[in-house]
């Protein structure tokens, strides 16, 4: 069927060799390698995807990777396109898209740097955003157990009020 979503996906596929799928009306998902991210995003913005709706990170410890997703909206075509890319979990480094979406991307990347520890190469300010004075590991990683962390670092088992947070059977 010749829908606008299929047309756009064909155009992307003919310009760059990428995997892509039309999920439903107004939703396109493409998967790319992280090295080509900036180049493809630049092209997508010139094609009308001017609004960066969100950037997100999904942690997959079994596959040893972070999946970074960029959700782009086109005001002209009324289509949401998601760009997915995978990076190494032990050395999470990816090029920043600040040159393309400016302050909008900057603040999303700053948040994700704090919560997942992803380093965005080229972002001018990756200082702490929500978690001032936080010294622990990035808290949104799947292997971060907040109960364990609080028991070890914050609570005191001798404190009458905080005793309740410890499992007494152990």
């Amino acid at each position: 069927m010749e829908t606008i979503e299929n047309k756009i996906l064909e155009k992307i596929k003919s310009t760059f060799r990428v995997d892509g799928v039309v999920q439903r009306e107004r939703r396109i998902w493409i998967t790319i390698e992280s090295e080509r991210l900036v180049k493809i995003c630049q092209w997508l913005k010139s094609e009308g995807f001017v609004h960066l709706s969100a950037i997100s990170v999904t942690d997959w410890p079994e596959e040893d990777c972070y999946e970074i997703t960029y959700h782009l909206w086109s005001y002209n075509e009324k289509i949401l396109l998601t760009v997915k890319t995978k990076i190494d979990r032990d050395n999470p480094l990816i090029d920043s898209v600040v040159p393309i979406w400016s302050n909008n991307a900057q603040i999303h990347e700053r948040e994700l740097h704090e919560l997942f520890g992803v380093k965005f190469h080229g972002n001018p300010d990756l200082s702490q955003l929500f978690l001032e004075d936080w010294e622990g590991p990035p808290p949104f990683r799947k292997d971060f157990d907040w109960r364990e962390y609080l028991q070890k670092e914050v609570f005191d088992p001798k404190n009458l009020r905080e005793q309740g947070y410890y499992d007494k059977t152990k």
């Binding site: 959700h71 005001y75 955003l129």
Partner: protein, 381 residues
Amino acid sequence: MIKQNNTIENLFTSTPDIDGYDFYFGPTHPGSGNFGVKLKLHGERIESAKADPGYLHRGFEKLMEYRIPIQNSMLSDRLCVLEPLGWNLVHAEAVDELMGNDVPERAKYIRVIMAELSRIQSHIIWYGVFSIATGFDTGFKIAFGYRDYVLDLFEMITGGRVYPAGYICPGGVRRDLPEGTEEKILKVLDKINEMIDFEEKGNPVLEARTKGIGILKLEDAIRLGATGPVLRASGMRSDVRIEEPYEVYDRFDFDIPVRLEGDAYARYYLGIDEMIESIKIIKQALKQLPGGDYITPSLKKIKLAKKLPEGEVYVRNEVARGEAAIYMVSNGTEKPYRTKVRGPDFLHMIPVLEFLLKGAHIADIPAIYWSLNVCPADMDR
């Protein structure tokens, strides 16, 4: 260093020997609401502004990974204090799409009615806090008085005045509208019309303090990621309800108000126009309201959590503040593997606010800040 020649004439002619100073706006609750801005001032001009968020960070995205969708639907209330039902709807839609739930017609209409009532009461709060911030106390008191009529409706329908405890849940809504609701909603809408008449009369203090203040041009608005009323007040006809109709929004006849000025006054006035449109939608929805189930029958009595099918969805909605979205990933267990919440105020309160405050006058801070219809809860999450 104090200069020695501080004669009376010099005091009035020479400029003070200082390079500027730091100034903190917030984070006390009555002023800015769990959110602070660190400003660098020179005289009364703001040289640079840096947002200082994090006073309301509760880590919802992480909390949702530990809970099943029906529990998360209660958590989603707290995503934004001022319009819980709007966020209920985004979460419910994300789970519905992931599970492939077939939502009954009646539930869709009830969802739209509740979401629009929620938008109206949120815009009334907006008017209230905006008035008190610009020195018009009466507006604040009148607004909160009228908001209570909508809260009475919420109490009758959902059981909670402010937090509906996940009334809009995956599969539909939690319970049917009680008897006589339709007449009561129409009566409340009449009351809201009184409120709109009062707002439309205008107020010289409010106008003097907001016209031409905090101008956001369209290209800056797009660049900084503004959505919703902030973007529409800068001249862009963009609304998720029109661009990507969810639920039954494509069946109603309503307008998207747009203004071209892009200043604080335009943003504030847009709120009034949007309330009028919301009233139109609710009236049409009440007329078309069909009978039938209010929730998918298979989800009516949930004893055990169902497994979420593997997959990922990105759901966008229009809440009172702009584009709200949830990105949900599932790996086939009962709990969502990852939930990303995209709040409109994350961009309005950090990049847009920092941009607008730069170069502004110190006395205009409240007018600029509240004209963005801010809610720190959905920014910090």
